[in-house]
Symmetry: C2
Subunit: 335 residues, 2 copies
C-alpha cells in the first residue's frame, strides 16, 4: 500500500506508557488529575456525540468525560483501563504531564444516566455503528473496546476456575488463588487476548480477476475478501492457503502481506494479504459462504465506487478488505 496509508481503527494518538501500568500511585494520581478524561462504555456500547456538520460518514466524536460527574461510581471500582497519555507528536518526548485517557465500564448505570453525562450524546453499538467515529479517534475506541470485551469475558482463571482481579491499569487479570500455577512461569492466561486472523484477496493465476465471496450474514449484494482465524502452529501464509482452500477450494501459492488492522469485535487482529492462486475452480464451503466467484478489475471498480449495474458492492473504506481490493485494482498493468 502507499506510504501514508492507514487502516481505520489504527490511528491512536495515545502513548500507552506501559511502564506506568505497574505504578498504582501514579495511576491513582492520574485518575484524579483535572486534565484526565474518561471514555465511557455501557454493555460495550460507547458514548459518542454527533458532530454538528455531519455530511461525512465520520460523524461521531467520542464522549470524553471528566472525573467529577462519575466520582461516586468510580468509588465502586468499575472496570477502568489506562489507555495512555495524549501525545500528538511522537518526536517530542513525553513529560508525563500530558492529559491521560481512561476507559470505564458503566454497565451498572442506566442508559439514560450514562447519556446524561454528555448532553446530546448517544451510545453507539459496536459494528457497524462505531465505524462512524472520527478516524483520528477510532484507534482509541479499538483499544478501549477490545480491552473491555476481554474483562467482560475473562473474569475467571482458565487454569483453576478461581476469580481474577484487575491489575496493571487493566492490562492484566491476576488469579485470586495464591496456589494457582498461573503465578509461575511463562504463560498467557492473565494477559489480554488478541486473535490473529487472515483476510485475503485471492487473485487469479493471470492476475486479471479476484475472488470475492459473501456469507449469509452479509448485507444483501455485498461481496468481500475471504477471511478466517489463524490456528495454533501455523504461519500467516499457511493460514491464508488453508482458509482459501477450505472456503473456496482454490489453491494458493505465493502470499503477499498487505497491512494489518485491529478489529475490536471483540479482539481480532486482521492480517491483510494478497493471495496468488494457481487454480480457478471454485467449490464453496456452504456452511460458511453463500457464494464466491471471480470478478475482473472493471467490475471490481464498479463495486468499489457503487456503480455496479446489479448493485453489487464491497465493504466501505473502514474495512481492510476495501483497502486490499483497492491496492490490487490500482496495479493497472492488466486493467
Amino acid at each position: 500500500p502507499d506510504d501514508n496509508f492507514r487502516n481505520y481503527f489504527s490511528l491512536n494518538t495515545l502513548n500507552r506508557c506501559s511502564d506506568k501500568r505497574k505504578d498504582r500511585g501514579w495511576l491513582a494520581n492520574k485518575i484524579n488529575d483535572a486534565n484526565t478524561r474518561f471514555v465511557v462504555f455501557r454493555n460495550l456500547e460507547v458514548l459518542a456525540t454527533k458532530l454538528p456538520k455531519s455530511s461525512s460518514m465520520y460523524r461521531y466524536e467520542l464522549g470524553k468525560i471528566e472525573m467529577k460527574p462519575i466520582e461516586t461510581i468510580l468509588a465502586c471500582n468499575p472496570v477502568t483501563i489506562f489507555l495512555g497519555l495524549v501525545q500528538e507528536n511522537r518526536q517530542v518526548p513525553l513529560t508525563f504531564k500530558e492529559p491521560a485517557l481512561f476507559a470505564v465500564d458503566l454497565s451498572t448505570m442506566s442508559e439514560e444516566d450514562v447519556r446524561a453525562l454528555s448532553p446530546g450524546s448517544e451510545l453507539l453499538p459496536g459494528y457497524p455503528a462505531a465505524m462512524q467515529l472520527l478516524p483520528a479517534e477510532a484507534g482509541i475506541f479499538a483499544e478501549a473496546r477490545s480491552m473491555l470485551a476481554w474483562h467482560d469475558r475473562y473474569q475467571f482463571c482458565p487454569t483453576c476456575g478461581s476469580s481474577t482481579r484487575l491489575e496493571e491499569g487493566g492490562y492484566k487479570r491476576e488469579c485470586a488463588n495464591l496456589e494457582c500455577r498461573s503465578h509461575k512461569g511463562v504463560h498467557n492466561t492473565c494477559y489480554p487476548r488478541t486473535d490473529p486472523s487472515a483476510i485475503m484477496l485471492v487473485v487469479s493465476p493471470d492476475d486479471k480477476r479476484c475472488l470475492l465471496g459473501r456469507s449469509q450474514r452479509f448485507p444483501a449484494k455485498m461481496y468481500s475478501c475471504l477471511a478466517g482465524f489463524m490456528e495454533p502452529g501455523e504461519t500467516l501464509e499457511d493460514a491464508v492457503r488453508r482458509e482459501v482452500e477450505e472456503e473456496s477450494g482454490v489453491i494458493v501459492d505465493r502470499v503477499e502481506y498487505h497491512s494489518s488492522q485491529p478489529w475490536p469485535f471483540p479482539a481480532s487482529l486482521m492480517l491483510g494479504c494478497i493471495a496468488h492462486a494457481t487454480t480457478e475452480t471454485v467449490k464453496i464451503d456452504e456452511t460458511e459462504l453463500e457464494d464466491a466467484r471471480w470478478f475482473n478489475r472493471p467490475e471490481v471498480v464498479q463495486m468499489l465506487t457503487r456503480q455496479h449495474p446489479q448493485g453489487l458492492f464491497v465493504p466501505p473504506e473502514q474495512a481492510v478488505a476495501h483497502q486490499i481490493i483497492k491496492t490490487w485494482v490500482r496495479r493497472t498493468a492488466n486493467l
Copy 2:
C-alpha cells in the same frame, strides 16, 4: 525473503481437515484405524528418537506410535488432538483414506512407561531442545504442542468459572454450564489462543547498522532482534514502533513485513519485520534488556557465522530473528 524460504516450525505436511472436526463418528473411526499414528507428549515434552547418523543439528525424529500399545490409556480419555491427514502434495486432492495423525497427552503415565512405547526414544523438553527435530516435522510439533499447552492451561471457562470439555477433535473447549453466555454469540473463549508478537530488526537511518539487544535470560554473548507481544487495538506496524521505543528509546518510522513463524512456547505467532529507525540514541529498558547496540554489516556477518572476535553471536537458523538478520545482511547495497 527469497521465494522458497520457510521458517522453522512452519513445515507441516498435514491437511488439518477442519471440516471433519465436528464429525465424532469419523474421528472415532480414524483413532481406531490401523494406519493412524500418535505423537506422544508427557508434561509438554515430546517423544522423539535420535537419528542414527546425527551429524546435522536436526537429529531427532518424532515418535509416531500405533494405537494398540496405548489402547487402554486412550480408554481413559486423555487429551487427544486430531492434527490432520498426511498430504504430501497439496495439488493432489485428498481421498480421506490418508493416514491420520493425532497428538495425545500421556502425562498420567511415568516417564519410563512413555519412553518404553518407542525403544531408544527420549522426551525432548520444549525450547531449545525441540529445535533439533527434523524441519519437515517441526510444524507438526508446533501444532501439537501449542494445542496441548492450551488444553493444559484452559480447563475452566473464563466467562463463568465452570469446567469445560474438549470438543471438535480438540479445537474447541465447551463450557459445561448450559446457562453460560459462552454458548451464545461471537466470542473467543472456547477456541485455542494464539498470541501475536512482533519481532523486528531495527535498522539505522542510513541502513548501515542494525540494533540488536540481549535480555538477562539469553545465553551469554547472544544478541537478537527486539520483540514484544502485540496489544489489543493496535496494528502490527504500531506494535513494532511501540516495542522498539519502549525497549530501546529508538523511534521507528517505516515497517516492512518479513515473514511469520509459529512459536509453540506456549503459543505465539511471531510476525517478523524490518523496522526503519529515524533516531539513533539508545536508552534501554533495564527491566527487559541488559544491553542493546548498533552493529554494522561486517560485524553481523561475523555473528551469523560464529566468527566474531569477542564470540558474540545471533540465534540459530531455526529462529525467525536469524532469518530477518540474514535478509538484511544480504541487501548488499551498503556492504
